[in-house]
Symmetry: C2
Subunit: 414 residues, 2 copies
């Protein structure tokens, strides 16, 4: 009986895939989600894992737990190697899975823009493993600096460069500076915190590209108050693990370079033999279908779609709305009803800089300072999956706020 | 001024080292603690990390945070390679550290009793990394079993053997069985939980060696009620990763063998050139001093000391009491007062089997069932360091208890 229902396969358990699967709950379809990981990751708080504020499991939730009660849902943990459009089959490392409809929600990976020195030596911040690596690395720099008598080596150990002035870079630089100035200062009494440098580099003339200019300026002021050295129009050329070289020729000795300067569509998209933009995204019709394979929908960071002549941004909001939209179009297609073009409803953007400081643009209004920070807290708490995670993250945030502490100052790999 | 104070170096941030350092707070000595990790691990709850109940950071606490307010305390994160007794110097990977008094509290490591097949293929449970490996492995077995059509392969994927009937083995087997029967059952609807086997193997005729016989029997009954297949007098000969072979010749196909059948003193103890017992422990005087180097004290799992003709057990209680005692003897030695022999005050032992079930022997009394379980909870919550950790572990325990859930069902390594 259920075998006869149309089979919708969703590749990716990110924001887009999750919304698509939920929109198909209780509908006359079978849903199979495939992901190489067994959990959904709430990426907006990943920088807090990297800066020792929260633990990975508080922002990662098992896919099977999310859909425990959705009867038409199955999960397969496997890496996807490609799609055979002619045979309507997804090729995974552990076998083939055939589909009637396919939603590709494979997301994005880090973009080093083809610079091998950065790819090798800079630390990305895209998944749980990256975040734990950054946390371990930052703490290890302090452990080494505590017993380093050579002043130049010590300064390089205590110089932390964040490249990329988007929300992730801004949030990481702010959180890192607070971790050092409010928390690690107490752990490492031998280290004079005035000698520690956190530098935020952005190639464009302003931080937070796309935000209103007043908020861009407010974010910069907030960062500078938190002792972050903000540098705009600073392009990074090379990093050998010891020295960061800028396009201007300036050389900054630094043992830590965090890379949040760009993303590109997941590598799976290059294996499909379809047209991609320079970020690796696949061009889709306004209905989110692939032009040559109308049963295949591409959503989120992996899709390229223009609206009013401008490409949609690679943000969670777009992915979530497209997830729901792709599910609705599939249900329409099954019922032989006409498909509808996707329209993005921009709910605004926000970025937090640290204690009591954030910027937000929403509903045609601009917020900054404490109010924006409070709104940011509420929005991100609600975004977490599971009441327990919300409660525990709230306790951790409140604790850190009142006691100037960070719970997870652990070096967990050797 | 402070440079002239006697320098006490403590190797190891386990239960023993921690108590020794605390006992030296405010005293006229300088204290330096050395550990290869930057955190103290509350080992008694490690099995809960392995069975997806709690997150590593809830039982691991940064050493620097513990001693933030102890002014005469310094921490060095480094691996210790040896001790030069003649020059009174500890040799670490990042340089030499000289001492006036030395406390070796290096703890224990897993003992595979020289069986290379077990060493290679069985999973130990001794540090954070082991516990996360076990968690990932167990969940991965379920992911594979969900899509395995070969019945024999499937059965091997769903057979989990715990070797060792001490407290750790008993607690791990109980928690694993509950994870599977109460939680994973809901995640993996394709898997009939009746086909999943958890086997606890013990070479001796009874579980929980050293506990009163009535409690040994009660523990066994509790485990069997939780569907653990308990086998005593079962000796393991060989494990190739697919098949476990017993001394009796019986072969059990199993993809998972957890090893908690033995520990031995940390490998550092073999590098000192002093007399060791067959567990690698170093023989000490009743004052805890090394016979040939009276400025060096050895405590906890690394020390061998008899009391009433029987060696002291390798448990946390002994390490903690010896930590305080070694510190007191060092202070006495500085003041040229006589040193006192160590006397162990046995506060009792306990082991939990799972929901509402535990056994405890303390103050000449025996507890079992709900009361023992409740006492176990309180004792272990108090043992955790930091109010936040206690609160969050309590929330996690309460949540899991009432909702039959486990928070950390994540596969975090690829």
């Amino acid at each position: 009986m259920t075998q006869a229902l149309p089979h919708v396969v969703i590749v990716g358990a990110g924001f887009g895939g999750l919304r698509a699967a939920r929109a198909l709950a209780g509908k006359p379809v079978r849903v199979t989600m495939i992901d190489k990981r067994n959990y959904h990751l709430f990426q907006p708080l990943l920088y807090q894992v990297a800066t020792a504020g929260i633990s990975p499991h508080e922002i990662a939730y098992p896919v099977r737990a999310i859909f425990q009660r959705q009867k038409n849902f199955e999960f397969v943990m496997a890496r996807v190697n490609g799609v055979d459009f002619a045979r309507k089959t997804v090729l995974t490392e552990s076998g083939e899975i055939s589909y009637d409809y396919l939603i590709l929600a494979a997301g994005a990976s880090v973009n080093f823009f083809g610079n091998p020195s950065l790819e090798q030596n800079a630390l990305p911040l895209k998944d749980v493993s990256d975040a734990v690596t950054v946390r371990n690395h930052v703490l290890r720099m302090f452990e080494q600096a505590a017993h380093e008598s050579d002043l130049r080596k010590r300064q390089a150990l205590l110089t932390f460069v964040v490249v990329g002035g988007g929300p992730t870079g801004v949030e990481t630089a702010g959180a890192l500076s607070e971790l050092i100035r409010l928390v690690l200062r107490k752990d490492y009494r031998q280290i004079n915190v005035e000698n520690v440098r956190v530098i935020l580099m952005e190639a464009a003339p302003t931080l937070l590209n796309g935000f209103p200019p007043a908020l861009q300026a407010a974010a910069r002021r907030s960062l500078e108050q938190k002792k972050v050295d903000v540098r705009v129009e600073a392009k990074v050329n090379n990093y050998d693990g010891e020295k960061l070289t800028l396009e201007s020729g300036e050389v900054i000795p630094a043992r830590t370079v965090l890379w949040s300067a760009g993303v590109r569509a997941a590598s799976l998209m290059s294996k499909l033999g379809v047209e991609q933009d320079r970020m690796g995204r696949v061009r889709v019709l306004p209905t989110l279908q692939l032009p040559h394979a109308p049963d295949v929908y591409v959503i989120g960071d992996a899709a390229y779609l223009e609206e009013n002549g401008k490409p949609l941004p690679m943000v969670a909001q777009v992915a979530m709305q497209q997830g729901v939209h792709a599910a609705q179009n599939i249900l329409a297609a099954i019922q032989k009803k006409p498909l509808r073009p996707f329209r993005y409803a921009d709910l605004g953007s926000m970025a937090t800089i640290g204690r009591n400081a954030a910027v937000a643009a929403a509903f045609g209004m601009q917020f900054r300072g404490f109010l924006a920070w409070f709104v940011w807290l509420v929005v991100h708490l609600i975004g977490l999956i599971g009441f327990r995670n919300r409660l525990i993250v709230l306790i951790n945030w409140a604790w850190d706020y009142f006691f100037y502490d960070r719970a997870v100052r652990l070096i967990t790999r050797e």
